[in-house]
């Protein structure tokens, strides 16, 4: 194959690739404040569990309904509804990444990623906490 034809192929491929990339609608990381501005748009929230507010989950009533409050580093807070089971380590989590949409004053969450100390035993602080309990 000639070099020129390879180049043409690569250019065509790159163009297709660019189109495909364009078709992937990336989401963004947002704060609760900016997510409230983007009603109905799919975003990622980085926040913390608000421990002062109640977590509502009862697997006997409905195993697919969890409600809690999240607060971000700017101090904004929102109710979060997650239509799935409660992640067991939610209360222990230090940070949560919430994926979903803001609907009015409620964050409709599709997926929760927890950052938990127990999973991260490489974390020195956590190990020291454990050691101090002996």
């Amino acid at each position: 194959m000639k070099t020129s034809s390879i180049i043409i192929l690569v250019v065509i491929a790159a163009a297709i690739g660019a189109l495909l990339m364009y078709s992937v609608d990336f989401s963004t990381y947002d704060t609760i404040g900016s997510a409230k501005q983007k009603q109905g748009e799919y975003v990622h929230l980085i926040a913390k569990l608000d421990k002062s507010k109640p977590i509502q989950y009862d697997a006997l009533k409905d195993p697919n309904y969890l409600s809690f409050y999240a607060v971000d580093s700017l101090g904004n807070s929102t109710q979060v509804i997650y239509r799935n089971t409660k992640p067991a380590e939610l209360e222990q989590s230090e940070r949560v990444v919430l994926k979903g949409k803001m609907e009015g004053n409620v964050f409709e969450c599709n997926d929760i990623l927890l950052k938990c100390p127990s999973k991260y035993k490489d974390d020195k602080q956590q190990l020291e906490k454990t050691v101090s309990k002996y």
Partner: protein, 838 residues
């Protein structure tokens, strides 16, 4: 202060050997590099001998390092941080190796050990290329040993040593006491998620795959510095086949592991960590095809160089992604951040080998020979090259989405994954599957240089016809109803299914009609057949996967908490709660959560679920089985669950626990009422009565398995409820080490607790019972139906076997050895993927 009971010797020995290995790798790299630059044959040979000596010292040292870590972990010397973090006394000994490669340091060591093995083989087989090849291998070793060096240089910690002491690394009041070790009763141990036999086998295979990609690039390098442009390809081909086979198998072992024991609900989730390993494999396979083209036609040499070098760059890039913590927000299972110095070190390693080789490649680009004549459109090499390009572009597409966190870091953007990550990949790769299926099907029948049209038509006519008919029949009788992404995607799935079915048939037909079942020449056709079978399996298994625990369809779902926005959700209600001993309809099955059984491991419980499928017209039981998904429940509420799966030849029923009830004994205010009963006596309670049938000594029944040497008495009680049900209960008392233990039994459906307290003075049996209005035990689970998942594993086994067939063919192994090797690989893979744990 001197500390008591520490064992410092193994750590000092280990650390010494790390240093020795480090020095030896530098010496060996320099000696080999000098040898590769020296023209004088005598001098060259003496440098090579020197390099070999240093390399073998390095091999010995690294084995010694491994032995030291193994010793420290197996002896539970928690004065070492590595043992404290990764080992624990309750851990079964078969997981000892797994704790070693759970950590960063251990996995780097594993990688370095594979380099030792590969290097040793290369010293004896690579002949005149030994010097340049081994200088590359030793450069990689230098970096890997650097990662576990743990020395301070100008106040910067270089690498992280596995032999550091707990008391030096962690702050805590206990470390100011000489007897601090008596307080550390046990280590943290292996993460429960990783307690699985796959954790023992998957990392070594995957790391062998990673490590082996250094061999093709080392061969390419050897040709670039000796300006012997094409000679490396033939010698490197078996290594490239080996690498593609091992890496591919390693990746899919990860998939099998995820499917079998992690609760992701599938075998592939386009997680960044999975992608990071898959991308170099795609590029490696593209390179493999270019090398095969060059071997037959002298075309595609530049592309071979390019892909092989790029493979190694992406292998290290994947290391960078998974080990620097950069994926923290996007991946569920990457390593954690290991500190800035470590990240910089890994970053340097990523660029250190591939960039200089790339430089050599581009510098010599014009001198690398190409064939000016245009390839014929009907030639095999033309379409193979197109195939390689497609694989390469797919790899670029995948890695460009996976690298999102890297862009964010560099450009300060805040882009995140698309809403439906899997679909973002699938919608593109389903089209790739169509093209790859067609190419792998047709190109077997093409001949190098050009192919007569008539021959081609004659050969592919049958497979094409059968594939068209087969796909249409499939679409009618076993339709894939993956409708949630619209008709366009559904059509694409069917096209891809057609293309891969065609490829399976075409490759099979090729083996029959062209090779006349001479399988040893058919490695490529076997591998392609396996690949296509795997893709068909994936399309069917993922396309027709069903949620059985769908709450909205069982009628059990009570919409207690209304959605405040009043809108429906696109998520199906995938979780279903089962009350203990209450049969619940789930899809076609009636499922009863019967009881729990403990395991040998701390905190691990199995939940026994009884599945029954009853024919609605005849009332006959069609299926009847028990699944026992399990979960680890840690003190801190951490729940880690492993699925229970019923394997059928054509489908799997897959369940895992998502929530379990938490016992709160303090709030239970009901008290036991004492009764003294003789055999045959009955007692009434609010919802019925129960009868003491007899007392069993050391029974061996459905509930207990005592041996005659035990001392156990079990009361055999039948509970008759007002609702006409009857239940068996077996409260027990066991005398063990002169202590009496009571095992109470509970009839959850009746909220009745029974306790066997002993024998009274008048030879009656003391049975206590209590009723509680507390709600009973429950579990919440997800259940899926996976059809034809075995096609995926079977396809993988066939593909890997195809690679091995090609490999032994290239090595010109003796016939007997070839059969033995292929046979052993086939049996091993078949066992691992299709029999073990099924």
């Amino acid at each position: 202060m001197t500390f008591e009971n520490e064992h410092l010797l193994p750590g000092q020995v280990g650390h010494f050997f790390v240093l020795l290995a480090f020095v030896a790798s530098i010496v060996s790299a320099i000696a080999y590099f000098t040898a590769s630059k020296t023209q004088l044959e005598n001098e060259k040979q003496s440098w090579i001998r020197f390099g070999r000596g240093a390399f073998f010292i390095e091999v010995f040292s690294l084995l010694a390092v491994f032995a030291c870590i193994f010793y420290i972990c197996s002896q539970h010397y928690f004065e070492y941080l590595y043992a404290y973090k990764h080992a624990s006394k309750e851990l079964e000994s078969r997981y000892l190796l797994a704790c070693i490669w759970e950590g960063q340091e251990g996995s780097f060591l594993l990688w370095a050990l594979w380099h030792c093995g590969l290097g040793t083989v290369l010293i004896f087989t690579s002949k005149k290329r030994e010097a340049p090849i081994m200088s590359i291998v030793n450069t990689a070793q230098f970096f890997l040993v650097l990662m576990i060096l743990g020395l301070y240089l100008f106040n910067v910690k270089i690498g992280s040593s596995p032999f550091v002491l707990t008391r030096n690394e962690l702050m805590g009041p206990i470390f100011s006491q000489p007897d601090y070790l008596t307080y550390i009763k046990d280590g943290i141990g292996l993460n429960p998620l990783l307690r699985n036999y796959w954790m023992v086998i998957h990392p070594p295979i995957l790391f062998l795959g990673f490590a082996s990609t250094i061999v093709p690039i080392a061969f390419a390098y050897s040709s670039l510095i000796s300006k012997d442009w094409g000679g490396w390809v033939k010698a490197a081909l078996p290594w490239t086949l080996f690498s593609a086979c091992v890496l591919g198998t390693g990746i899919m072992m990860g998939g099998k592991w995820a499917y079998e024991s992690l609760s992701f609900g599938g075998y592939w989730a386009w997680d960044p960590v999975e992608n990071a390993a898959f991308v170099p494999w795609l590029i490696l396979v593209a390179g493999l095809h270019c090398m095969a083209i060059f071997n037959s036609t002298k075309n595609a040499l530049r592309a071979s160089y390019f892909f092989i070098i790029l493979t190694y760059l992406f292998i290290l890039y994947s290391t960078f992604l998974t080990r620097t913590g950069i994926l923290g927000d996007t991946s569920v299972h990457s390593f954690t951040e290991a500190g800035t110095a470590m990240n910089i070190l890994i970053g340097i390693y990523v660029l250190a080998i591939s960039i200089p080789v790339f430089y050599l490649f581009f510098k010599n680009y014009k001198s690398i020979p190409t064939i000016q004549k245009e390839e014929d459109m009907s030639s095999r090499e033309f379409w193979m090259f197109i195939g390689a390009l497609i694989l390469f572009l797919s790899a670029l597409f995948i890695i460009s989405i996976t690298s999102l966190p890297v862009y964010n870091k560099i450009f300060g953007t805040n882009l995140a994954d698309p809403a439906d990550r899997e679909f973002a990949y699938n919608k593109v790769l389903v089209l790739v599957a169509v093209i790859v299926g067609l190419l792998t099907g047709v190109s077997q029948f093409l001949k190098y240089r050009n192919t007569p049209k008539k021959y081609l038509m004659q050969k592919i006519g049958w497979p094409l016809g059968i594939a068209v008919a087969g796909t249409i029949l499939l679409a009618i009788f076993y339709p894939i109803d993956y409708t949630k992404k619209g008709p366009g995607f559904l059509l694409a799935i069917h096209l891809a299914l057609f293309a891969s079915v065609f490829s399976v048939l075409a490759n099979g037909y090729y083996l029959k009609s062209v090779l006349k079942w001479n399988l040893k020449a058919g490695g490529a056709a076997i591998a392609h057949l396996g690949f296509a079978l795997m893709i068909s399996g994936m399309l069917i298994a993922s396309g027709n996967r069903k949620v059985i625990s769908d709450n909205s369809k069982t009628g059990l779902f009570i919409p207690f908490d209304k959605d405040p926005t009043g809108r429906g959700t696109e998520n199906p209600m995938e979780n279903l709660t089962l009350l203990k001993e209450v049969p619940t309809q789930m899809g076609k099955y009636t499922v009863t959560y019967m009881n729990d059984s403990a395991s040998n491991e701390k905190d691990r419980t199995f939940y026994n679920l009884h599945f029954q499928k009853i024919d609605s017209t005849t009332g006959k039981v069609q299926e009847d089985f028990v699944l026992s998904p399990d979960a680890y429940r840690m003190k801190d509420n951490n729940l880690t669950s492993n699925p229970g799966t019923k394997h059928y030849l054509t489908h799997d029923i897959f369940t895992y626990i998502s929530t379990i009830s938490v016992h709160n004994t303090q709030t239970d205010t009901a008290t036991f009422k004492p009764h003294e009963l003789s055999i045959g006596d009955s007692v009434f309670y609010s919802k019925g009565y129960y009868v003491l049938n007899n007392i069993l000594k050391n029974p061996d029944n459905e509930r207990f398995h005592f041996s005659p040497t035990d001392t156990a008495l079990v009361a055999n009680i039948t509970v008759y409820g007002q609702d006409g049900t009857s239940h068996k209960a077996y409260p027990a008392l066991i005398i063990h080490n002169q202590e009496i233990n009571f095992i109470d039994d509970t009839v959850f459906a009746q909220n009745l607790y029974l306790n066997f307290a002993g024998i009274s003075a008048n030879k009656k049996f003391k049975i206590n019972s209590k009723e509680t209005d507390k709600l009973t035990d429950f579990i919440t689970l997800k259940a899926y139906y996976f059809p034809y998942i075995n096609l995926v594993w079977l396809g993988l086994v066939i593909m890997s076997t195809g690679f091995v067939v090609s490999l032994v063919g290239r090595l010109r192994a003796e016939k007997m050895w070839a059969y033995i090797i292929v046979g052993m690989v086939l049996v091993f893979l078949f066992y691992m993927f299709l029999l073990a744990n099924n």
